[in-house]
């Protein structure tokens, strides 16, 4: 009974982890390569100023990307602690 239980929870754990990881990894990689891509092909776009300020789009998006990177780590840890950790605890109890 316990072994079958563990197997079932382990399966849930793997599924849950993929669901959390996939979008976050995708977001990390695409946002970074978008940034690099603009720098390589369209640097002028990043030089343009935002509305009537003296801050360029590139600097604004760069700061935003730093914030996004931090948020990604924060979101993952929140979800991992909330969704993955209870499953892991159950498996450890059975082991």
């Amino acid at each position: 009974m316990q072994i079958r239980d563990t197997k079932k929870i382990y399966h849930q754990l793997k599924q849950a982890r993929i669901k959390i990881l996939a979008p976050l990894i995708l977001l990390t990689v695409t946002s970074y390569f978008f940034f690099i891509w603009v720098i390589a092909f369209n640097p002028k776009f990043f030089g343009a100023l935002i509305f009537d300020t003296n801050i360029s789009i590139g600097i604004f998006l760069g700061f935003l990307l730093i914030l996004l990177i931090f948020l990604i780590t924060l979101i993952y840890v929140y979800l991992a602690n909330k969704i993955l950790e209870p499953l892991i605890k159950k498996i450890k109890k059975n082991a």
Partner: protein, 544 residues
């Protein structure tokens, strides 16, 4: 220990009296620095009493909290090179500094999402533990140690040369004595205090550097009443490149280079041995996860500060004759922008503080590097490849201390040898090797069932070889250093090509591996994956 203290005393009398004539001796800096060294040596003494076993030497007993580890990791990343180098790059060309900052930061989500937890769940002291979990110990350990040692040594040379130059300018000390002081202190931290002392030195320094940089950014923005609009327009008015500093400049010009650099930075971070080693200092995967969030937060915040500091230097330093030499360039070089700015906004006291912090930063970073290198020699090569895992902890400890002294002396020697060379490419090469060798074998051993010893060894070493070869044949070494007219390999950054070689090599030679051991290795994957995901069977921390 006593002998070391006497030796250090001698080195310090050097520091106080051997100042070269052309630089003013900065007494605030020297006093603050001696204070830092005193505190850290006391910590080393305290740590040496707790460092008796291999586990405490490599992992500080596994009792560091997520928050402490986050600070220590961010300390490893906030080297003097990134503090002075990035603010100097911003000073020189504005926006381009941000490209590097973001590149250095983007590796962190990757580490968190894919590596941190399995690494902690499978390993004991180093990432080679993870790679050799189900593969053949000897060849895999040797390969991983080669990858680690080349990364560590390249990084050490870059830090040493930078340190010598910096201390020469800041303290008016001859290059040789500067490099030797760094080497001597680093050897004493690591041999006596192991990971515990190294971690606390790193934490103290991280706090000092973050506070110093925060204060500087605050004082700069204060002058503009925190109005970013006015701040940036002032910088554009003053800088010789005008509004171009708000846009990408010449750092990356073609798509191949941009992708290649991007890959090296993104995945190289996840293959740096001294960073990976820090994940074994926390008790479990939960704390490992936490430490990445703290580290990412601190590092990201720090890069925003360096950007403000760089722009601040454009406004407050670049047209102040006090900081310029006769030809109108910055005294020292562009990397001194942050140092001059500290004087411009906070006078001699802040200058002294920031100089001392820069020195402390170098010390802490080289200590972490040396410890990672020593563990590759003692734990991977000696204990597991040479003794093939026959447990002899006392000898392993001895070897690790000897390895530390050896690496320290080697670093001093190479630091002196490379004094006049351009070493900037070495950090890039270290990242390329980490992304090409360490990262692929680590990630595939965790997630790819069909990885075999043969595939990892052939693919990993082929990639390592190609990465080094392409850098030698590339524009930086072949043209700039060897003085040839044209580079044989046209790109500065090899990672794109060498990573393809590694991954294809590993895939092909694993897939075609029909040996008996390879079947066993594939069979072991399921149980390894279970442990990596759940932490059942994980190595426990020391009891208090």
């Amino acid at each position: 220990m006593h002998k070391f203290i006497i030796l250090l005393g001698l080195l310090f009398s050097n520091l106080l009296f051997a100042s070269t004539a052309d630089v003013e001796t900065n007494y605030t800096a020297i006093i603050m620095f001696i204070l830092f060294v005193g505190v850290t040596l006391f910590i080393t003494y305290w740590a040496s009493k707790k460092t008796h076993t291999a586990k405490s030497f490599y992992t500080a007993g596994g009792n560091i909290t997520g928050f402490q580890n986050g600070l220590a990791i961010s300390g490893d990343f906030m080297s003097a090179a990134s503090f002075l180098g990035i603010s100097g790059l911003v000073y020189l060309s504005g926006f381009d500094g941000l490209i590097y900052s973001i590149g250095f930061l983007i590796g962190w989500p990757i580490i968190l999402l894919l590596i941190a937890e399995p690494l902690r769940n499978l390993g004991k002291y180093s990432f080679s533990d993870v790679v050799s979990f189900r593969l053949k110990q000897k060849p895999i350990r040797i390969l991983a140690a080669c990858g680690s040692l080349s990364t560590v040594i390249l990084y050490l040379i870059a830090q040493m040369v930078g340190a010598g130059k910096l201390i020469e300018i800041l303290f008016g000390l001859p290059y040789y004595s500067a490099v030797m002081i760094v080497g001597g202190l680093m050897i004493s931290y690591v041999t006596f205090g192991g990971m515990l002392a190294t971690t606390w030195v790193q934490i103290i320094k991280a706090v000092l550097l973050l506070s110093g940089a925060t204060l500087m950014a605050f004082l700069v923005l204060y002058q503009f009443e925190f109005n970013f609009n006015q701040f940036f327009s002032e910088a554009v008015n003053i800088h010789s490149k005008g509004e171009n500093i708000m846009a990408p400049g010449g750092l990356i010009s073609d798509p191949v280079s941009s992708i290649s650099l991007g890959l090296a930075l993104m995945f190289g971070t996840a293959g740096l041995p001294h960073i990976l080693m820090r994940f074994f200092t926390v008790p479990d995967a939960i704390e490992a996860r936490k430490s990445v969030v703290y580290a990412t937060g601190f590092i990201g915040y720090f890069y925003i500060l360096t950007f403000i500091i760089g722009f601040g230097a454009i406004i407050l330093v670049s047209n102040n004759p006090e900081y310029l030499n006769d030809s109108g360039a910055l005294i020292g070089n562009n990397n001194m922008a942050a140092i001059h700015l500290s004087h411009a906004v906070g006078g001699d006291i802040l200058l002294g503080f920031i100089s001392a912090v820069a020195f402390a930063t170098i010390l802490a970073v080289v200590s972490g590097l040396t410890l990672a290198g020593a563990s590759a020699i003692s734990h991977d090569l000696y204990a597991n490849a040479f003794l093939t895992g026959k447990n002899n902890e006392k000898m392993e400890m001895k070897v690790s201390k000897l390895a530390t002294i050896f690496l320290g002396v080697l670093a001093v020697f190479l630091g002196i040898l490379f004094e006049e060379q351009n070493v900037a490419f070495m950090v890039g090469l270290a990242f390329a090797i980490a992304a090409t060798t360490n990262f692929p074998i680590l990630i595939l051993s965790i997630y790819w069932k069909n990885l075999t010893t043969r595939g990892a060894v052939i693919g990993g070493s082929a990639g390592l070889f190609i990465a080094i070869l392409l850098v030698i044949l590339g524009p930086v070494v072949w043209v700039d250093i060897f003085g040839n007219n044209e580079a044989i390999f046209p790109y500065k950054y090899p990672a794109l090509f060498s990573m393809i070689v590694t991954f294809v090599g590993i895939w092909f030679f694993s897939k075609t591996d029909k040996t008996k051991t390879s079947t066993v290795e594939k069979k072991l994957f399921e149980s390894q994956y279970f442990r990596s995901q759940t932490g059942v069977g994980i190595d426990k921390p020391n009891a208090h």
